[in-house]
Amino acid sequence: MKFWIGVAVTVALAAGLALSRTNEYFFYAGFVVLQFVVLATAWNILGGYAGYVNFGTAAFFGIGAYTAVVLFKAAGAPLALQILAAAAISGLLGFATGLLTLRLRGIFFSIATVAVIFIMETAMVNWRYVGGATGLQLLRPPVMEPFESYTRMLFVAMAILAVIAVSIARYIEVSWIGRGLRAIRDSEEAAECFGVPTLKLKLFACTVSGALMGAAGAAMPMYMSFIEPPSSFSLTYSVSALAMPMIGGTSHWLGPVIGAILLGSVQQIVTVTISSEINVLVVGVLLVVFVVAAPDGILGLLKKLRWLPRSSR
């Protein structure tokens, strides 16, 4: 019950802010942070819950962006439809990738996800309809009442998407699916021997994860009024989506959210004050530091300091 109150508050807050006099920059930055909440939460469904590390977030994100562009260019589809289509296509990509490699050891799945980035990016570079290597300029449709700007509307849309993503992650986590995924993560061999249909559950997690990443990507073209391969398939998405849950904590849905908000904000600050390369270096360093020194992330540290109750789930 507390969760749903939190959800309502979050959506109300987002809408309220969008309708207020707040500085426009806040929505630019806020959109990016919320996007990372979705990406980190999506990554964690497969990475944190099941223990399969996806290096290829950029592929699913990028394909989501391009799907939105295709729908927009071909049919002038509204944002909601773009997001749904992007989720479907990226979900399918997740399913296909999983089908090919989830029968094997975790590291091969991870390498395969790098392959997917390459193949998808090469395909988009060679597709003139979406602009090929040079990309495509996009004209935003006129903004809907009551929003002042398109960016504000995107901000609210992303807030809703973030809430949906977190709700899905939380549902999976507390359900029997989550229990099965945890068993897979702890000891896949034992899980398989004790009735857990490991392949089916992994495929499910991979598909849902991919779909959410695609949904996050769908709003990107409208946000930038532009699409091109290098930025859509940027490795920064892959590293961030991995680093944020690792830093926040991977065993609970709150971990990716904390990681995304903290690291996302740090990224915005560093990019603006220092440089975007240093920003990316900071993400990498923080990832390594946390992975080595604080394996259970910030949530784990809080539990150790007894600021949070330890629950043995």
């Binding site: 990475g47 090919l100 091969f108 991870s110 390459f118 990498g284 390594v288």
Partner: protein, 289 residues
């Protein structure tokens, strides 16, 4: 495609393939034998390329520079393995995900570090054998490829002999196959693995030198080489050195043909495609144990 072009593609592919084999052999040891999820291997190779570039600015021949860098990289490898072992392998259960994330983070840090120091532009070296071609019958083989081919062959042979003839070499193979037995014989598996990882990294320094001989380098090159090196190692079969050569040749020739037929943008995808196909059909590779 005409027969002549096909033949030229194959010949070039053989040179390229041998180079790929040498570049992957460090991973064959680190991942194939030692089972370390070393996705940072290509990044360390690119690091080696840039070190070679720096020495090249002082007039060093790239291959000589590569050989000179080997002891340094050996020590780097020992340090990395020790760190990995203490932080992850020792702790057992949760090691898999975090070990992988660690190496991914390391690769990323190396790539970004290189961008910060050298920028994103391509860097190259100069040598007597770069820029000229060897005329062999009807073919013109770039000398830089021939030199890389020669060095690669020598390196692969040397490592294969080391692993099968010397005492430490065989200990390395033994630790991959039966660690408890090795412990019973009084050998310390961790020190052997450390040594092996050091050798794998040292070899990678020379691989990096060859990389910058073969063509210009840029910091993001490690990404496509993840596909190439893992494709070779998996196709070879984990732990097989001779398989690495065969697999490298297969990749080299396939890539060369695709390059000729479809152009440069699709060539890197060949490695990844090959990897996915092998994983789907015959995951133990050609000579897998």
């Amino acid at each position: 495609m005409s027969f002549e072009l096909l033949l030229e593609a194959i010949v070039f592919g053989v040179l390229l393939g041998c180079f790929y084999a040498a570049v992957s052999i460090g991973l064959s040891v680190a991942f194939g034998l030692l089972d370390v999820p070393h996705v940072a291997h290509p990044a360390i190779m690119v690091l080696g390329s840039y070190c070679t570039y720096v020495l090249g600015r002082y007039g060093w021949d790239p291959i000589v520079a590569g050989i000179a860098l080997m002891p340094l990289f050996f020590l780097l490898g020992v340090a990395i393995y020790r760190f990995y072992y203490e932080s992850f392998e020792k702790r057992g259960s949760e090691a898999g995900v975090r070990g992988l994330a660690f190496f991914f983070g390391l690769a990323f840090i190396i790539e970004v570090g290189l961008i910060l120091v050298f920028g994103v532009d391509q860097r190259m070296v100069e040598a007597a054998y770069i820029g000229r071609s060897l005329a062999l019958g009807e073919f013109r083989l770039p000398w830089r490829m021939v030199v890389a081919f020669g060095v690669a062959l020598a390196l692969t042979a040397a490592l294969t002999i080391y692993l099968s003839r010397t005492f430490t070499g065989r200990a390395i193979k033994a630790v991959a196959q039966d660690e408890p037995a090795l412990r019973l014989m009084g050998a310390n598996p961790v020190r052997i693995k450390q040594w092996a990882f050091g050798i794998a990294t040292g070899v990678t320094a020379l691989a990096g030198a060859m990389l910058i001989v073969v063509g210009p380098v840029e910091p993001s090159l490690d990404r496509v080489y993840i596909g190439r090196t893992f494709a070779v190692v998996v196709l070879a079969g984990l732990g097989s050195m001779t398989g690495t050569l065969a697999a490298g040749l297969i990749l080299g020739i396939s890539e060369s043909i695709v390059l000729m037929q479809f152009g440069a943008s699709w060539a890197p995808a060949v490695a990844f495609g090959l990897l996915l196909v092998v994983l789907g059909i015959r995951p133990q590779g050609l000579f897998g144990r």
